[in-house]
Amino acid sequence: MTMKLIKKYRDGRIFWPSMVFFAILVFNTLISGGEFLSITIMDGHFYGRLIDIFRNGSKLMLLAMGMTFVIASGGIDISVGSVMAIAGAIACSVIRGNLFPALQGSVFFALVLALAAGALCGAWNGFLVSRVKIQPMVATLILMVAGRGIAQLITNGKIITVNSQAYYFINGGYILGLPFPLYLVMALFAGALVFTKKTAFGLFLASSGINEKSSRLAGIEVENIKLLVYVFCGLAAAGAGLIESSGIKGADCNNAGLMIELDAILSVAIGGNLLTGGRFSLGASLFGALIIQSITTTIYAMGVPPEVIQLVKALLVITISLIQSEKIGLKLIPAKEAVS
């Protein structure tokens, strides 16, 4: 039984990304002389660098899941950063009472409206891609440009701060000693996993990404599947935007989620998912997000200037793309999978 599980893990797509993540953890532990792994308990909460990686990486993990679906469908969504800004702007404006004065102070409605706005943004992207048939890159470019502007118009170009303990809880809260954002990630992951593995959705999605035409001939409603993945991605982005805005206790439309779309795409790529669409693994993307977060932490810890992080990321993207390229012919993906 255990042997079988180990073999399944060894052959699975999650193997390499998780190994890299653990290798980075080991490396960190060595250079910090063991301090890295130490977790202290204060007021019943866990504190430590490892916990920080999980907490700070939660935004990216949410985005990575949404992006995995979109990329699996053969698309891309570069508007997630702007959607984060919109979600934060709406939530903070509602709590402050600048938007819908009747709902002032209601964190619940703020969250519902922010998530609904995220889903609406996703639906708009999905509409443009699946119905108007615009290339995904260009369709989401529109919202990427306009979204930040819309967020600015919601907040009237100001940085809005909120004073609400309930709202702070989204990023700073703890349940059973673990940071609250981690539960959000786990909940979304569990939901998405059940939805893709226990229904035919996952299969349909991968099939649409591999060959749209034949999937349509096989009776799969490719258009609706595409619409759905963009809505999911918008929702995940709104969730990430709420965590970010709760973390800074306000809405900063200029900087919320700036350039994070690139990190989200990178997470999916590092997780070993093909950027051209098709077969995907949510778990592998989560490890991809954790790898990026831990590399960032490592670089900070080593005292290297943070600008270098981008340089490293840029080289990583190219390396991964080259490894994935069929022209190079490194057969890292098992043959049976390449066929399917």
Binding site: L128, V132, V138, V145, A146, L275, E307, I318, L322, S325
Partner: protein, 331 residues
């Protein structure tokens, strides 16, 4: 097929021109635009016109280059840094142009040789150049080189009654770049190959055209024009700052699209793309006149971009239906 293409190109250009004319007339009526307003459109957007020319080549082949904003920023920061160190401008300018060309060509090589997605490669390029900017200097560096100062202030002044409109030399330079591009695309072998590759790469290579080499070259041109745009921008602001021009690639792409370039490749006119830049400049001017939040510019540009893409889409659907009808008739 060919006639249909020409038709859609011309009608897209007409829409763009009409839009510009209507907006400008509105500006004259409501805000009292003068000749100088018109010339300032060129003065303020010269760098964007130059950079758009580069990305226009890439879009024509059906590719995309999102690294140009970072390349512009890198050019400004790097040349400001070199000039501060006392390197003569005669060395700095050729050097940054060469870097732009080499960087663009490298991206093109990766994309074509290894069949990578243009979006991913140029995304990495965006990261890379932006990182280099902040490694060189996080603070803004002012340019005090006498040659730069002289060129930056060189202008032609007209006298029309009581008005004294002026146009800077670098704006004239941008116009020259557009004219040169138009010539290359219309009358050289290379230019015609770019259009052919954009129409269908497979057909182009079957015709014996150097499709792959051309695709590498357009990215090289894009990098080169981006650094050329960077030189113009450093003349415009006389400084280099690592966080400048974030999102400029989107301005350039939307200019080209508003100017009637099809993102699927093969169709587009450089004059349209240049007018696209001017339309964005007009929007910016109106927003400033109205004293609105500057973000209205972005929202309006995005709405226009969306509108034009949908018009393009409708046109190509129409074209396809017409072709299908013809095929049925032939059968």
């Amino acid at each position: 097929m060919k006639r249909k293409r020409n038709f859609s190109e011309i009608s897209l250009l007409t829409i763009t021109l009409a839009l510009f004319a209507v907006m400008y007339l509105g500006g004259i009526l409501f805000y009292g635009f003068r000749i100088s307003t018109f010339l300032n459109l060129f003065n303020d957007n010269a760098y964007l016109i130059v950079a758009t020319t580069g990305i226009f080549f890439v879009l024509l082949t059906g590719g995309i280059d999102i690294s140009i904003g970072s390349v512009v920023a890198f050019t400004c920061v790097f040349s400001a840094w070199l000039l501060e160190k006392g390197v003569p401008s005669g060395v700095v300018i050729p050097l940054v142009l060469l870097i732009g060309l080499a960087f663009g060509s490298l991206q093109g090589f990766l994309i074509v040789r290894f069949d990578l997605q243009p979006f991913i490669v140029t995304l990495a390029g965006l990261f890379f150049m932006r990182a280099l900017c902040s490694i060189i200097s996080k603070a803004a560096i002012a340019i005090k080189n006498p040659f730069y100062l002289k060129v930056a202030l060189a202008k032609i002044r007209f006298t029309l009654g009581r008005q004294h409109p002026k146009i800077y030399f670098y704006a004239l330079f941008a116009i020259a770049v557009v004219l040169a591009t138009a010539f290359v695309l219309k009358f050289t072998k290379f230019g015609r190959t770019v259009y052919a590759v954009g129409g269908s790469e497979q057909s182009a290579s079957l015709m014996g055209l150097p499709a792959r080499g051309t695709r590498v070259m357009v990215y090289g041109i894009s990098g080169f024009c981006a650094s050329l745009g960077g030189v113009v921008y450093s003349l415009y602001t006389l400084a280099g700052y690592s966080l400048q021009n974030i999102g400029m690639e989107l301005d350039a792409i939307s200019s080209a699209v508003i100017g009637g370039t099809l993102l699927t490749g093969g169709v587009g006119s450089i004059f349209g793309a240049a007018i696209g830049v001017l339309i964005q400049g007009l929007i910016q001017t109106v927003v400033t006149y109205q004293n609105l939040n500057t973000w209205w510019t972005k929202v309006t540009v995005a709405a226009l971009l969306c509108l034009f893409i949908i018009i393009q889409r409708a046109m190509s659907v129409n074209g396809e239906q017409a072709r299908k009808k013809r095929l049925i008739r032939v059968a």
